[in-house]
Point group: C2
Chain length 131, copies 2
Amino acid sequence: MRIGELAERTGTSRRLLRYYEEQRLLTPGRCGNGYRAYEEAHVGRVLQIKGLLDAGLPTRIIRQILPCLDGPPSIHFDDLTPEMTDVLEHEHDQLTRRIDCLTRNRDAIAGYLETVRGMRVRRSEAARGRG
Amino acid sequence: MRIGELAERTGTSRRLLRYYEEQRLLTPGRCGNGYRAYEEAHVGRVLQIKGLLDAGLPTRIIRQILPCLDGPPSIHFDDLTPEMTDVLEHEHDQLTRRIDCLTRNRDAIAGYLETVRGMRVRRSEAARGRG
DNA sequence: CTTGACCTTCCCATCAATGTGAAGGCCGGA
DNA sequence: TCCGGCCTTCACATTGATGGGAAGGTCAAG
């Protein structure tokens, strides 16, 4: 698949797909004429990258954690240094912290909305009572 | 408390505290001499802002959701338009999506690390068996 | 053979978050 | 009184994720 189709199927601009490649998040092959050649699997990969970027992770972190998500670790086991597992553990904890922060704030918003709805109901009940 | 102390206690640069104020995320008072005067409560507020920024929310969104996290909504009920609740619901869903994405990836990392540790153990067992 | 829709690289622009430094005011201690 | 450390505003620089255009190559259809 060429860049245009991947862009369409992932809702990403071609520009960004090239940027992700420059950041080594994506490594498409090349056709004889120089066009980038993407695999089916790249669709999911791009969506994953987008999700992580949207969640606030910088590309350099995404680059570090992406290889682990590819398949069974045995594939990547050989070049897995102790420093790498340290990085992964650190990122795991960071993610947990981020998740907690987002969850706290989401729940606060939920609680707020709920209270507001409660007030609405009571208000309209009061209005009915008066009317 | 002046800006230096708040910066120190929150691990934020003075520059950023002024930036947050410019973005209307923080509204310190002023001393007679023009110095910013922060309250104790601003410490938590800054940490919350930092957490949300770090989680990828832009200041304009944080500005919208911060008032809801301040206390009982009744205080802010009067200026709560329907558009505002729409924004909040939208942000709530966005946060949920973000949380799900981060959770999936964190769990994938956890699984990866676990598998790697399992392989380590089996390797060393094999080495003992041979030795 | 031309046209149009792709693709390539290169480069410049933008926006948000942040760093940094200049020029100057306040203030407490030697 | 002067100095050092804090504060002010203003302004320019940088970084990361994007958008956009220019100049040119590829290729299928008319």
